[in-house]
Amino acid sequence: KDSGGTSNNAGSSGTAASGCKLADKPPAAAASSSTAGDGTKVDGSALKVGLAYDIGGRGDASFNDSAAAGLDKAKTDLGLKADAVKELTAAPNEAEDAKQTRLRQLATEGYNPIVAVGFAYAESLKVVAPQFPDVKFAIVDGAVDGATNVTPLVFAEEQGSFLVGVIAAYQSKACHVGFVGGVDIPLIQKFEAGYAQGAKAAAPDIKLEKKYLTPAGDFTGFQDPAKGQVVGQGQVEAGADVLYQAAGASGKGVFAAAKAGNAKAIGVDSDQYNQPTVAESKDVIVSSMLKRVDVAVFDFVKAVAKNDLASLPKVFDLKVDGVGYATSGGKIDADLAAVLEGYKAQIIAGKITVSDKPSS
C-alpha cells in the first residue's frame, strides 16, 4: 500500500533542495495603501441589479462565484434588496441568441445595472446594449467597442500572475516550476505570460513547464480533472515542484498531482486554500492569484448607485487591488511578503511592465 504522497519524483535533478539562484530583490515598497474605502456611505437600495453568469454560475468556486460575492457585498454594504436582484446562468454550448435573450430579459424586466459575467457575452452585448441605451451594462473580462453604456470590467491577470510567479520561484527547491492552463485561449495565456515573467524576474535561470489541456474552442479543458492530474503529474516528474493552474475545474487534478508528488501548487481566481471542494489538497496550496471579480462587480454597482461610472478604473490591476495574491495557509513568510510587495510597488509604479502575451 502506498503511504500517500511519498512517491519519488524521479525527474527532479540533482539541484533538489538547493532552490534557485535568486535575482536581486526589488527595493522594499513604501507602505502601500489601497485606494478603497473613501468613507462616504452609498445607498443602492433603489437599484435592481441583474447578473448573467457564464457557464457554471453561482457556486462554481471560480469567477462566477466571485461575481456573486461582489453582489452579496453590495447587498450588505449598499442596502441592495434581495428581491431586487436577479441572477441567470448560461448553459454549456448554448447558442448566441440564448445569451442575448438572457440579457434582454433582464433589461426588459427593469434590471439596471446588468452585469454580464464572462467574455462570452461580448458579442451579445454588442447587439443588446444599443437596444437599451438607458440601461447600464458591465461585462467582466471583455469589452464592447462603441457601446457607451457598457462598462468593461477587465483585469490585469498578468500582473497578479507575475507575483505568484515570484512566489513560485522562491518556493521552488528544484528551480523548476510548472503552469497548467485549461484551454489555450488569450485569457488564459495572460496568466501564463505574467507567471513566466514573474518567475524569470525572481530567478533568471528558472525552468518552466507549461501545458494547456485543450486547444481553443474545446472548452472541456476546464472540466476535466483527470487530464489536469495527468499533466500535473507529468510536470512534477519532469522536475517542476511548484505548479500554477489556471484550468477551472481541471485545476483540482493539478492540485492532486502536486500533493501526490510532494510539490506545491498555486491556485487561481479566488483564494483556493479556503475552498471546500479542494480541501483535500489544501496543504499544498501556497498561494492563489486573486482576480477580484467581486471587487469589480461591487465597485461597478456602487459607481452606478453614485452615478459616477467615470470613477471606475480602466483595468482592475494591482494598483486598485483588482488582482493580487492570497496568503491563507501561512506559506508566505515575511521575507517573501516583503519581496512581493517590492515587485508590486514596481509594477504599480510602472518600473516593470508585465506582458500579457506569452513570449513563445
Binding site: 502506498d2 472540466q223 487534478g253
Partner: protein
C-alpha cells in the same frame, strides 16, 4: 455416408491453421511494441516514451476506456450495439459520487454499477423488447443520461457542494505498489541502458501506485474472457450475437440473455464512470467529466476485434497516446511519428517477403511522407497533438478494419417467432 465425406462438396475457404494460440500472439505483439518503443526512444532521445510515469498515466487514462469498452463488448457479443455507453458512463459517475460521498469508495463502485445498469436496462427495453434501432436508442440514452444527471445534481448536490454541476469530494481508494520490485525496477530504469531500462520503466509503471480499481479492471477483463468463452452462460450469450434464431430454436431464451448482456454492459460502463470519479485528481462528479470516453471505449472495442484481449490493447494504445501528448506534448509526438516510420519499414519488408508489391509500395510512400513530417517539423502544433488519440484510432482502424470480425447478428433487431 463415408463416400461423401471424402468429396468436399462446396467451395470452402481453405482452413487456416492457427499454429500460434491467441495469447501467444498477444505476447508477441506486446514484445514487438516494447521493442519498437525502446528503439524509437533510443534513436530519438526521448526517454519519456517508456518512463514509469508515462505508463502509469497510460494505465490511469486507459482504465475508464477499458471498462466502457468491456461494456460494449458484452452488449455486442449478445448482438446489441451500445452507443449509449457514454450516457451510462455519465450515470455511473453520478451514482459513484452520490454513494461514494456518503458511504465510501466501495459503495461508490456498486452504485455506479447500479446506475449504469439502469441505463443498460433502458437500452434493453428499447432495443430488445421494442425492437428500436440500436444506434437510435443509444443516441437517446446519451441525451437522457446527461439530462438526468444534470437535473439530479442540481437537486441533490447543489445544497452540499453549492455548485449545481459538481458533487462534494468523494473519498478515494488507497493505491498499492509492489514495494521491493518497484524500487528495484526503478534503479534499473535509472541506469539508462537501452532496452533494459525501457522494459523496467514499463513494468514499474504497471506495478507502482496501482488502485484497487485497476486490479478490478484486470479481473474484469480476464473474467469477461472466461465467462464469455469458457462457460455455458457465455456460449449462450455469444450465440445470441451470432445467430439468435438458432439459439432460440435450441431453447435459449434470447431475450433474457440479451437483457442480461445489455444490463451488464451498462453496469461495466457505470464502473468506468466510477473510475473517473475515484481516480486521483477527480474530487467527485463533475458535469461533462466523461468527455466522450464512452465513444472511445467503443472504438477500442472495435479495434480489439470484439475480444477482451484486443480491447485491452486498444484501450492501452489510446491511454498511452493520450498520456504521452498530455505529459510531454509535440516533441514526443514527433518521436511517435518516427516510431510509426520504423513500424512501416518492418511492415514493408514483410510485404516484400510475401511479394505483395502494391501493399509494400503504399507502405514505402506512407513511411516517406511520415519521415518527411518528422524531418521538417520541430514540434507538432498542440492543437493537433491534443487529438492524437483520435487520429491514431482512425489510422489503426483504416489499416486493420478488414481483419475485424464482428458478431454476425450484431446490431440486428431480433424478434421471436
Amino acid at each position: 455416408m463415408t463416400a461423401l465425406a471424402e468429396a468436399p462438396l462446396t467451395v470452402v475457404p481453405p482452413q487456416r491453421k492457427r499454429k500460434i494460440p491467441g495469447w501467444a500472439l498477444g505476447m508477441i505483439g506486446v514484445a514487438g511494441a516494447i521493442a519498437l518503443l525502446s528503439t524509437t526512444s533510443y534513436l530519438t532521445g526521448v526517454p519519456q516514451l517508456t518512463s514509469t510515469g508515462t505508463i502509469q498515466t497510460a494505465v490511469r487514462l486507459a482504465l475508464p476506456i477499458l471498462l466502457a469498452g468491456l461494456g460494449g463488448l458484452w452488449a455486442e457479443r449478445a448482438g446489441v450495439v451500445n452507443i449509449g455507453l457514454e450516457g451510462m458512463m455519465i450515470m455511473g459517475t453520478w451514482g459513484a459520487a452520490w454513494a461514494g460521498y456518503q458511504w465510501g469508495p466501495w459503495a461508490a463502485l456498486i452504485a455506479a454499477a447500479v446506475f449504469g445498469a439502469l441505463g443498460g436496462l433502458l437500452h434493453a427495453i428499447a432495443t430488445v423488447t421494442f425492437g428500436v434501432n440500436h444506434i437510435v436508442s443509444g443516441v437517446a440514452i446519451n441525451l437522457l443520461g446527461a439530462g438526468l444527471t444534470k437535473y439530479l445534481s442540481t437537486l441533490l448536490f447543489f445544497p452540499i457542494s453549492h455548485n449545481p454541476r459538481e458533487s462534494p469530494a468523494v473519498p478515494k481508494f488507497d493505491t498499492y505498489s509492489a514495494g521491493g520490485l518497484s524500487d528495484w525496477l526503478g534503479s534499473l530504469e535509472a541506469d539508462q541502458r537501452v532496452g533494459i531500462s525501457d522494459v523496467a520503466g514499463i513494468l514499474r509503471g504497471l506495478v507502482t501506485g496501482v488502485s484497487p480499481l485497476t486490479m478490478l479492471a484486470v479481473v474484469f477483463v480476464v473474467g469477461s474472457y472466461l465467462v464469455l468463452w469458457r462457460t455455458r452462460f457465455g456460449l449462450r450469450l455469444r450465440s445470441c450475437g451470432e445467430n439468435p434464431t438458432a439459439a432460440e430454436s435450441l431453447g435459449v431464451n434470447v431475450y433474457l440473455y440479451k437483457y442480461a448482456a445489455v444490463v451488464m454492459s451498462g453496469a461495466l460502463a457505470g464502473v468506468g464512470g466510477a473510475a473517473l470519479v475515484l481516480n486521483p485528481g477527480n474530487p467527485g462528479y463533475l458535469e461533462g467529466q466523461t468527455n466522450g470516453r464512452g465513444f472511445i471505449g467503443l472504438a477500442a472495442m472495435i479495434f480489439g476485434n470484439w475480444r477482451p484481449g484486443g480491447l485491452l490493447g486498444g484501450a492501452a494504445l489510446f491511454g498511452y497516446a493520450d498520456g504521452l501528448q498530455l505529459r510531454s506534448g509535440g516533441k514526443t509526438f514527433l518521436a511517435l511519428i518516427y516510431g510509426a516510420v520504423l513500424l512501416l519499414a518492418v511492415l514493408v519488408v514483410w510485404q516484400l517477403v510475401r511479394r505483395r508489391w502494391f501493399a509494400a509500395a503504399t507502405g514505402i510512400v506512407a513511411a516517406g511522407l511520415l519521415y518527411g513530417v518528422y524531418y521538417s517539423v520541430d514540434e507538432v502544433p498542440s492543437e493537433l497533438t491534443a487529438y492524437a488519440p483520435h487520429l491514431v484510432t482512425l489510422v489503426v482502424l483504416a489499416v486493420a478494419s478488414q481483419r475485424l470480425r464482428m458478431p454476425a447478428a450484431d446490431g440486428v433487431v431480433y424478434r421471436r417467432g
